[in-house]
C-alpha cells in the first residue's frame, strides 16, 4: 500500500478529475456565463486562500465541527443506549417502537422551526436537529445489529456458564450488535454532516452553512463554491481518518462484514 502520492496521481481516476479541472480552467473563454453563477477556478482558488488567511474559513469550520461533535456524541450515545434497552425488554420494545417509527418519519430537518422557537438562532437548534437525526439512525442500526445475532450465540454462552444477563450483554449482545452500531455511526455521521450544513443555512449565524448561504445572498459565487469544496473534502477526510480505521480493527477483522465500497 506504499504508493507515493505523485504515483497515485497517475491512476486512471485522475483523468476525469483533470478533465473537470481543465474545463473549469477554460471557463473564462466562455464569457457569456456570469462569474457569480460559475466562478472561475482562479477566482475560487484566491477566494479559498483569502478565507483561509483571514481565518474566516477556520472559524466557520471550527463552529461547524464543534456542533457536529457535540450533536453526534449526544445522539449516538442515546441511540445505542435506547437500542440496547429496547432489545433487552420486550414490553419497552412494544411500547416505544411505534412512537419511534413515527418520530423517525418526521424528517429531522422538519424540527428546525420548533428548534429555533425553543433555542433561538445559533448552536442550539443545530445541535438539537442533528442529534435527533443521529439518534434515529444509530438506534435503528443498533436494533438491526442486535437482531442479526443468531440465537445460538446466546445458547453457546449459556452452556459455558454465562447465566447472568449482564454476561450475556457483555459477551454477546454488545459485540454482536457492533456491526450494526458501527454502520449506524458511519451513516449517522454522514447524515449529521448533511444536516449540519442545511441547518446552519437556516438557523445559525455562523458556521460553514451560514457562510455559504450568506455568500449566495450577496451573489458571491466564489465563496459558495469554496464552501462546497470544503464540505466534500472534510467528509472524505472524516470517512478515511475516523470511520474506516475503526471498522477495520473491529467488525472487518472479525469477518463480520465484507468490502462494501465502490
Amino acid at each position: 500500500m506504499k504508493v507515493p502520492a505523485w504515483r497515485r496521481l497517475l491512476r486512471p481516476g485522475a483523468v476525469p478529475v483533470a478533465l473537470v479541472l481543465l474545463g473549469w480552467l477554460a471557463l473564462p473563454y466562455f464569457d457569456h456565463i456570469p462569474q457569480y453563477k460559475l466562478p472561475h477556478l482562479a477566482q475560487v482558488g484566491s477566494d479559498l486562500w483569502g478565507l483561509a488567511r483571514s481565518g474566516a474559513l477556520w472559524a466557520a469550520l471550527g463552529d461547524s465541527m464543534g456542533r457536529l461533535g457535540t450533536a453526534f456524541v449526544l445522539g449516538a450515545a442515546a441511540g445505542v443506549l435506547v437500542g440496547l434497552a429496547v432489545t433487552l425488554s420486550r414490553s419497552l420494545n412494544d411500547f416505544l417502537m411505534p412512537v419511534i417509527a413515527f418520530f423517525n418519519a418526521i424528517a429531522g430537518i422538519a424540527w428546525i422551526p420548533m428548534a429555533i422557537v425553543w433555542f433561538g438562532f445559533g448552536s442550539g437548534p443545530v445541535i438539537f436537529v442533528i442529534a435527533n437525526n443521529v439518534f434515529f439512525i444509530v438506534l435503528y442500526n443498533t436494533l438491526l445489529g442486535a437482531e442479526s445475532i443468531p440465537a445460538i450465540m446466546y445458547d453457546a454462552v449459556r452452556v459455558l456458564g454465562g447465566y447472568r444477563r449482564l454476561t450475556m450483554v457483555r459477551e454477546v449482545l454488545v459485540p454482536g450488535a457492533m456491526v450494526g452500531v458501527l454502520s449506524g455511526l458511519r451513516t449517522g455521521l454522514a447524515f449529521a454532516w448533511r444536516a449540519l450544513v442545511a441547518v446552519e443555512m437556516i438557523a445559525a449565524s455562523n458556521g460553514l452553512g451560514y457562510l455559504s448561504i450568506q455568500a449566495s445572498r450577496v451573489f458571491d459565487g466564489a465563496t459558495v463554491v469554496s464552501v462546497i469544496l470544503v464540505i466534500g473534502a472534510v467528509w472524505v477526510v472524516m470517512d478515511r481518518v475516523l470511520l474506516r480505521p475503526i471498522e477495520r480493527v473491529t467488525v472487518r477483522r472479525w469477518g463480520m462484514v465484507g468490502q462494501t465500497d465502490f
Binding site: 481516476g13 424540527w111 462546497i228
Partner: protein
C-alpha cells in the same frame, strides 16, 4: 431440525424479531400500536398544562387539532402537500431515471467506471443541500432548485445499488445468456436490468427517503410554497401550531409513502423472484 427454531425459548433472551402480523390479531395489533400514541398525546397535554408555556413555545394538542381543521378548510394543507409531492416525485424520478442508464454504462465499460469512481465519490461526499446556494444563484428560488437537489441526492444511492445489483447477478445467468447468443444490449435488456432490479428498487427506496428529507430542507431555504415552507414560515409568524400540524403531516405522509408504496414495491420485486439480498452474518 424442523420445529426447534420455532419452539418457545426457555429463557428471556433478548427480544427476537416480532412475528409477522397475523390476520386474526389485526385488531389487537392496531390497538397495541395506537396505545403509545394515546399515551403520548396524554403526556403532551399534561406537560403543556404543567409547564404552563405559551402556545407559541408549546402548542397544546387541542389547538393543533383545530389548526388542522382550519388548514384543511382553507385548502392550504392540501395544496401545499400537492406542491411538495409533485416536486418530490419529479426529483426522484429524474435522479433515478438518470442513475440506471449510467449504472449500465459503467458496468459495460469497466475502465470508464474505474476512472469515474473518484469523481463520483467526491460528488457523493458533497451534501446536496450545500449546492442549494449555488442553485439559487443559477435559477432563483422555487421548483428547479428543489427538484435539482432531490434528483442529486437520489442519483447516488440508485447508482450504487443498481451497480451492486448487477454484480450480484449469478455468473451462470450471464453465461447462459451468452451461450444463447445475446449481444450487449440484449444482455442488458434480458439479464442485467431485471437482475439488478432488486438493487435498483432498494436504491430508489433509499434515495426517495433522502429526497424527502431534502425536499423539506430545500423548501425551507428556497421556496415560497410547500410543506417545508409552511412549517418554517408559520414559526416566523408566531403560528407554531401550524408548524406542529405541518410536522405531523410530514411524518404521516412519509409513513404512508414508505409503508404502502415503497416497501410493497420492494417486496413485490425482491420476494416474488425469490431474490433476497443476503442477510449479513
Amino acid at each position: 431440525m424442523v420445529g426447534i427454531g420455532t419452539a418457545a425459548p426457555v429463557l428471556p433472551g433478548p427480544a427476537r424479531a416480532r412475528p409477522a402480523g397475523r390476520v386474526g390479531h389485526g385488531v389487537a395489533l392496531v390497538g397495541k400500536a395506537l396505545l403509545p400514541f394515546v399515551v403520548l398525546v396524554g403526556l403532551w397535554q399534561a406537560s403543556a398544562l404543567a409547564l404552563g408555556l405559551s402556545n407559541y413555545l408549546y402548542p397544546r394538542p387541542a389547538l393543533v387539532l383545530r389548526t388542522f381543521g382550519v388548514l384543511v378548510q382553507h385548502g392550504v394543507l392540501l395544496s401545499y402537500t400537492e406542491t411538495s409531492m409533485w416536486r418530490w416525485f419529479v426529483g426522484v424520478a429524474a435522479g433515478a431515471g438518470l442513475a440506471v442508464p449510467v449504472a449500465l454504462v459503467l458496468t459495460f465499460y469497466r475502465p470508464v467506471a474505474r476512472m469515474m469512481f473518484p469523481l463520483i465519490n467526491f460528488f457523493t461526499a458533497i451534501v446536496e443541500l450545500a449546492w442549494i446556494p449555488l442553485f439559487v444563484l443559477w435559477f432563483g428560488y422555487g421548483f428547479k432548485v428543489i427538484v435539482l437537489s432531490i434528483a442529486y441526492v437520489t442519483f447516488f444511492p440508485v447508482l450504487a445499488n443498481t451497480m451492486t445489483g448487477i454484480t450480484q447477478i449469478p455468473r451462470t445467468s450471464i453465461h447462459a445468456a451468452r451461450t444463447l447468443g445475446a449481444n450487449r444490449w440484449q444482455m442488458a435488456l434480458h439479464v442485467l436490468l431485471p437482475g439488478s432490479l432488486p438493487g435498483t428498487v432498494t436504491g430508489v427506496r433509499t434515495g426517495a427517503g433522502y429526497g424527502f428529507r431534502s425536499l423539506i430542507g430545500a423548501e425551507m431555504i428556497a421556496a415560497q410554497s410547500g410543506l417545508g415552507y409552511m412549517i418554517f414560515e408559520s414559526r416566523a409568524n408566531q403560528l407554531t401550531q401550524r408548524t406542529i400540524a405541518g410536522m405531523i403531516t410530514i411524518g404521516v405522509l412519509w409513513l404512508v409513502i414508505d409503508r404502502l408504496y415503497l416497501r410493497s414495491i420492494e417486496k413485490a420485486t425482491v420476494q416474488r423472484w425469490g431474490m433476497q439480498r443476503r442477510a449479513p452474518r
